[in-house]
């Protein structure tokens, strides 16, 4: 009995599977890639634009990807190419971290990839434990997008105080997240 549907040609099936594989792989690594890109493109808007460019390049070159090998190192290789292009197009801006430093970070990115979903869960829990003052400073920095000097002006603090306070909030979150992750993974 006919199902009433036309059979899907083999080639179309291959393309559909390839797209599904690309979507799944990209979804797994994009947060890791963004953190890697941010090391060399600290402006969030630049980093997000670069991530988009990496996504396009990954899609264009996806036929070259060998599915028997891990996806993240291949995507990191493309990200490094895009970062180099980014800096070539902005010749006057100083490159802070490139070359061997970025290779070390790329290796670290691959090594810790498996732990990142637990880490996100832990950070989320730790955000709940922050004091109002810490929450407000994080909101101003990351939600509103203010610079340290603008946050200082708004809260009546010096820029130096804001920098130190934000850094300590991040260290506190890191330590808290480690404490949350350890019992979960134990």
């Amino acid at each position: 009995m006919s199902s009433g549907m036309d059979p899907i040609p083999d080639q179309a099936l291959t393309v559909a599977r390839s797209r599904a594989l690309l979507a799944r792989n990209w979804g797994n690594v994009q947060a890791s890639l963004l953190a890697f890109i941010t090391a060399s493109a600290p402006q969030f808007s630049d980093a997000e634009d670069l991530l988009q460019e990496v996504a396009v390049e990954v899609a264009v070159r996806f036929d070259d990807y060998d599915p028997s090998r891990p996806f993240l190192p291949w995507a990191l290789w493309i990200a490094k190419i895009k970062l180099a292009e980014f800096y070539r197009s902005r010749q006057r801006r100083e490159v802070i971290l490139m070359g061997e430093s970025m290779d070390a970070l790329a290796e670290a990115c691959v090594n810790v990839q498996e732990t990142l979903s637990d880490e996100q869960f832990a950070i989320e829990k730790c955000l709940d434990r922050l004091t109002d003052r810490s929450r407000e400073m994080l909101n101003l920095r990351y939600s509103v997008g203010l610079s340290c000097s603008q946050i200082g002006a708004q809260l009546g603090m010096s820029v130096g105080y804001v920098r130190v306070a934000l850094s300590r909030i991040r260290t506190t979150l890191t330590e808290c997240a480690q404490a949350v992750v350890k019992p979960r993974s134990a």
Binding site: T38, L105, L116
Partner: protein, 399 residues
Amino acid sequence: MREQEALELIDAHLDDDCLTDQQVEELSAWLKENPQHAERAYHRLFLHTFLRRRLQAQRLPILSTRTDLVPQGPVDVAPPTSTELLIPQAPAGLVPARKTYRRRRILLASGIIVAVAVTWLSLMLSSAPPVAMADAYDGFDYPATSIPAPATDARTWPTTGGLNGLAGGTGWAEPWQESGPKVAVIVDHARELNWDPKDMRKFKPLAHSDAKGNVLQSTGLQMRTAMGPRSLTSRKLDLTTFPTSFRDESGLGKDGAVVWFSFLAQSFNSTAEKNRFTYFQVGSREVSGFRLGKVGAAPSGNWTAMGLLTGGQVNLRSSTVPSGEMAFMVTRLEFRPGPEDAAVWINPSLAAEPRLAEATLRLSVPDFRFDRITINANYSTDIDEVRIGQSFRAVAPIK
């Protein structure tokens, strides 16, 4: 270099602080020293990007009163220690059971008192008459502007006249002003004959009705922004129509005020590519403000809202509603100490004030005040029924 120093340098780098050559060299050397260092650095980078994405999606709630946010005394002396950054949490089992029971009784009693107070307050508020009239309104009840045919030719679009000097409506301190190379005009939809085949506005004039048959009050004709570069149309508000609690010396938006505004809009088509923008703005781009419309930063052309800060766009939120479709947009701006809270509903039900949880767009906007509205356009878009008021009903009256 110690780990903490390295992480602080990474923080400084990501907070746009310029590192010296020596700091960059030391940081690079520390990173390459061993894989653990690189992993620690990577975790810090990940924390930054996680916080950015997480807080862009949703701000962290402020749990108690805001008094702890105001620095007391000379704050530079001692930034907070890590133990001061977390809310103290007693380990489970350390609080004696008797004390816990007493605390629960106190909490229960406090809860009852708060519930009674809230009920009393809500009764008091519900008995107060709602402000159901817009403080400022323009339905563009003016004669239609004569536009040389074809109406979609940017080269023949009027460069003078337009809305300049029109002074209808209520709640305004001055007439409309045009300050762009072209002008916005008044169009009579019923009499327009030379529609471009691709113009999505030809179906019917701007209006809004909800699924229950409630119809938005509407008068007059409608305004149309310029084809091509560009019209810049603004009008100053009469701030005295608003209560003193809504304004200070800088304009409308004193902390504690909740200002609503609404308008109908539909663009020639839905794309915003090639810098095709039309937006409604309060506040300023140079200092801070709020913008709602179709914008180049969202090339899909869907209706989009964003904050403005020192020349940049922040917290851009894009809807799924194309700008080529007619839309009734209602915005609620809650002015608070620090950033303001903006909520936008597109085509809401007119029956009652919509819930914040149902807002189409929700974003935090940098602290700002305003005393005028501006409609800036690089693309032809129709706008009508501009209202600013103190309540949803004031800006969404029904027939």
